[in-house]
Symmetry: C2
Subunit: 447 residues, 2 copies
């Protein structure tokens, strides 16, 4: 550990950055340097592309890229790419896909596609003074951004609405310009931010020039101008349904009982925030895996979805279930602001392949695919939770992970699996057991 700050680190070459890191922080500088470099892509151009996504890069972090086949969505088949490091998620998705393939598949529809940008500003005046001249301000804003919006309008999108909002009751003299957009197949962050910053300038100049305002009201203070990641009007709904009798029995549970327990589990996540958090976490296991595979921004998707889960004043589960007239129905409604053009979607080499694997969907189709994956994940997780419990499968996979990392032989694997049938699997516990096993076997010939 070093306590003196380093200057000019960002200006060092990648190799020199790596050198500084291993020399200052690692016990085995040569070994670590060699390993970190072994993760570089052999194709130098592609590696440089990756390095340009971010800053101060010294290596790559690998996440497993898997696929979940057999998704039937609105009558069309998909094999969905998933990037996730957690075990069981891809397997659960694949199981749910196959299960629902035999029951009519998944259904999905877009409810609305409105994106949001905001200008936050303070102004020593009354809201009605601004309201009175909003239509003039609107025209000036639209006029000033013609160059920015032309391309987007040609693609069928653009600015949809410009509203003034008042939050001065919660923080003094503070107002907002809230703009809604259609950004078609792009997530639209760059576009929205550019428009909002241009609007800010218009707003400042506009207020400075209004003769009806008092002198001290000519100074309007822009605090910030930026898109909102919360898009409750950019919504997709996905659902499955079938007669309860066709759900099939599972282990000791009849179809009827399964359906009732499932409905109860969904209900509990609606009323208890502790359960809702875990319930939604599972949904995002599926959602993020596709979001990452297509190089969309999973932090934006997470923030949006969780804020939506809290929209009515309590944090709640994002899925719903209903059993009515013998029909089991399970659905999700979630805001998703993602793109299939722009951002990194066309830059990350694997994202391009993900999109081709999905048949090069537009943004609305990708919204449906992602929502379906969230629903599928939740279905599989709940079905497992209300029947066998999730621990059995998890522990088995984790145990095999740990055994592999400890280079266990086939015989050792068999003995360890047997021992851990009723024990909690942890890296330390498995290592200790294996060490004991090995030392007892080493002693065997001596006894």
């Amino acid at each position: 550990m070093i306590n003196k700050p380093i200057s000019g680190f960002s200006k060092l070459s990648k190799g020199k950055k790596l050198r500084w890191i291993v020399d200052n922080f690692f016990k085995d500088p040569e070994g670590v340097a060699k390993e970190l470099m072994s993760y570089w892509l052999l194709d130098e151009e592609k590696q440089q592309l990756l390095d340009r996504f971010s800053e101060n890069t010294i290596s790559n972090f690998h996440l497993p890229y898997g696929v979940a086949p057999n998704f039937l969505i609105n009558g069309k088949s998909y094999c969905i790419p998933m990037v996730i490091e957690e075990s069981s998620v891809v397997a659960a998705a694949s199981n749910a896909a196959k299960y629902w393939h035999e029951r009519g598949g998944f259904h999905a529809e877009i409810l609305c596609t409105e994106k949001i940008g905001q200008i936050h500003f303070t102004w020593p005046g009354e809201i009605h003074q601004l309201q009175n001249c909003m239509s003039e301000l609107r025209s000036q804003m639209l006029e000033a951004t013609r160059d920015i919006t032309r391309n987007m309008e040609e693609r069928g999108g653009g600015i949809k609405d410009i509203e003034l909002t008042d939050i001065s009751d919660q923080t003094p003299q503070t107002y907002q310009i809230q703009v809604s957009f259609d950004t078609v197949d792009s997530m639209g962050a760059n576009f929205i931010n550019s428009v909002m910053e241009a609007f800010s300038k218009v707003l400042t100049d506009f207020v400075a020039s209004r003769t009806e305002f008092k002198p001290h009201q000519h100074d309007l203070d822009i605090i910030m101008a930026i898109l909102s990641n919360y898009t409750p009007k950019c919504l997709v709904r996905a659902w499955v349904e079938c007669p309860v009798s066709e759900l099939g029995s599972f282990r000791d549970f009849t179809a009827e009982r399964l359906a009732q327990r499932f409905e109860k589990a969904v209900k509990i996540a609606k009323v208890d925030p502790y359960r809702a958090t875990t319930h939604n976490k599972g949904i995002f296991n599926g959602i993020d895996a596709v979001v990452i595979a297509t190089a969309n921004d999973f932090r934006a998707v997470e923030a949006n979805g969780h804020a939506y889960a809290a929209k009515d004043g309590q944090y709640r589960g994002l899925t719903d279930c209903e059993i009515s007239n013998g029909i089991f129905r399970f659905w999700i409604e979630i805001p998703l602001s993602i793109g299939t053009v722009g951002g990194l979607t066309s830059l990350h080499p694997m994202a391009r392949h993900s999109l081709e694997l999905l048949g090069n969907p537009d943004a609305e189709e990708l919204m449906k695919i992602i929502a379906v994956m969230g629903l599928a994940q939740n279905f599989a997780a709940l079905r497992s939770l209300i029947t066998t419990g999730i621990q059995k499968g998890h522990m088995k996979m984790h145990l095999h992970n740990v055994l592999a990392s400890l280079n266990a032989t086939e015989q050792e694997v068999a003995q360890t699996v047997n021992y851990f049938a009723d024990q909690v699997v942890s890296y330390a516990a498995v290592r200790d057991f294996l060490l004991k096993l090995r030392s007892s076997q080493a002693k065997l010939p001596l006894s």
Copy 2:
């Protein structure tokens, strides 16, 4: 696109899975197969380890692995590993680190470390009947899990409390056993889930055997038993502070004005959910980058933090700011349930290096580092938003990404940068401009 479901896909070898994928979904099967295979690790053992994390893997997804040096936290220096594909995040973190290094650095403290597990069950009885025998039930539960808890207790953790809660007012006959844990340096998911499933069995048997219950009350129905990812009592606080005068001026803004604008920006995120979502999204840009670099579970961290942001009935920003007696103070309080042992932290090859780079912290130290990164990110984002706006830097980086992917020459880069000084950067717009540029130059010798 194929519409017939495939059977036994998960049982195919990795190579055969890849073959099926490229043959069925790609225009250029050979080229794509070759490229996807080029992302496999050369070290077969390490690749098999990665493949075992998840299922149906056919390749790896690369994310840039960068570092942010110069973080001073509680007087100790750190260079923090970050895995993120979004531009400006690592640069912003590094800038904030250096800025605060000169102002006393970051401070952080653990407020509490309680993890949560739940059994959700239905039972045809009154809550007070169960309350009356809770102490006996508690003893039986603890007794039945001695084998599971022994290791954890030796490490200083274990079961802290077992409570009965009642949600029957919201969903009929439904109750919960809520258990709090200390899982020391592990996130504890496996441990908690194992305990909760064991407790479920005890609970069922216990209720079946109570002679004071009516006959129909001997059947208690366990709906599910699992950890909660919501841990509002596993909290860390990180903060920075300095006299307002020492904040320094920035562009046209005096230190005083900067502080006031900053405080206002934080306040807006407290009162407006649209702004809060984006505000917190930026915080998680920093948090997730470290969470991934250490192979912790970012979906769990996101769900936890966002649910906490909605804890008082409205979704709010996670940071706070105060200017008092000439002192500027900025802080975050956030639940973080992460580990430095167990899970993938010791299995993912890069995670081990991340932990060594951080000086092999325990879980509490890593909680502090992660919270500081969230705070640093929010500081940098807000400072940029309230001064220059974020678009300028973003657009520049994005433009260079796109130019690189289009193999632009040095001269083309210069001309394109010049043209896009006042244009919105998008992949399509840059490509079109470059194509025009190239065709006009191709024609040049003819004119």
